[in-house]
């Protein structure tokens, strides 16, 4: 059986040679992982679907730029991270023009229970108090379990830059930890 990266490379070559349908193999193999990754960037199902589509469209349009130095999945997940970060940055830019009550795009469900979904939503809400770059670095560390070196590679940042952003984000979170509603919500979730 062919390994996944070999299949990916074959499909990339096929797509670039004009067999557009070869790209569906890439979507089938990586769709679930990309979807899971993008759920760290939005909890809204409609937005999630759009973001996942954006990732694959971006990959398709930039496919000729894949140099093959590392596994195709690394390249694809990097695009996914950049797409999510770009989404957050756009949200940040649009913040002032969005009515205050229009918070449905990113809000978690307040009825979430003390379970995995509830924990994910609470963590999502907590991290979205951070600026996009700090939020990205914390999301990669806490939700994608990447270490600093992997984050640096994923983002194209230096290790020092990653360390600085992590430090800054952690300081902000530590401050939030002593404040309501976060203190109470986290205690409740972990109790």
């Amino acid at each position: 059986m062919l390994d996944t990266d070999k299949q990916d490379r074959d499909d990339v070559a096929g797509t670039l040679a004009g067999d557009r349908e070869a790209f569906s193999g890439i979507i089938t193999r990586h769709g679930e992982a990309v979807q899971k990754q993008m759920r760290n960037f939005t909890r809204d199902p409609v937005r999630l679907e759009e973001l996942v589509q954006d990732v694959f469209v971006e990959a398709y349009t930039c496919l000729a730029k894949f140099r093959g130095d590392s596994p195709f999945s690394h390249w694809l997940y990097r695009i996914a991270t950049f797409t999510g970060r770009q989404f957050w940055k756009k949200r940040e830019r649009d913040k002032n023009s969005v009515p205050l009550h229009d918070n449905t795009e990113e809000a978690g469900e307040e009825t979430a229970g003390r379970d995995a979904k509830g924990a994910a939503e609470l963590l999502f809400d907590l991290l979205r108090t951070l600026p996009p770059d700090d939020r990205t670095v914390m999301t990669l560390m806490y939700l994608e379990n990447l270490d600093q070196a992997e984050i640096a590679r994923r983002m194209g940042w230096t290790r020092v830059m990653v360390a600085v952003r992590l430090h800054r984000a952690k300081q902000r979170l530590k401050k939030l930890g002593g404040q309501e509603p976060w203190k109470g919500r986290v205690e409740w979730m972990l109790s």
Partner: protein, 101 residues
């Protein structure tokens, strides 16, 4: 490590067991991909009739974000494109291409 950060780590461990999201609509994504190829066809048609020739010249020269946005908006407004994707998504997708360059 700070106690609150340790709690966040516990939350992340809990969150990691969240069930996978609903199955991805592969056909939906491929429809968007096909839409890009149709947009490519539109570029050629547009050059023929000169409607988009100015922004396309900028695009070919690798310049001017404004010209590319103009192109994206023009393409997004075309009927053939909007059959497959929303105008905003089309414009954003092309803008993403520009940013990736």
């Amino acid at each position: 490590m700070d106690a609150f950060l340790k709690k966040i780590e516990r939350l992340a461990a809990m969150a990691s067991t969240e069930p996978a999201p609903a199955a991805l609509d592969v056909d939906g994504v491929m429809a968007k991909i096909r839409g890009i190829d149709i947009a490519g066809g539109l570029e050629a048609d547009a050059e023929d009739d000169g409607v988009l020739s100015l922004p396309l010249r900028f695009w070919a020269g690798g310049a001017a974000a404004a010209a590319v946005v103009a192109l994206a908006v023009s393409l997004a407004a075309s009927a053939a494109w909007t059959e497959l994707t929303s105008p905003m998504a089309a414009a954003e997708s092309l803008f993403n291409v520009l940013e990736a360059l």
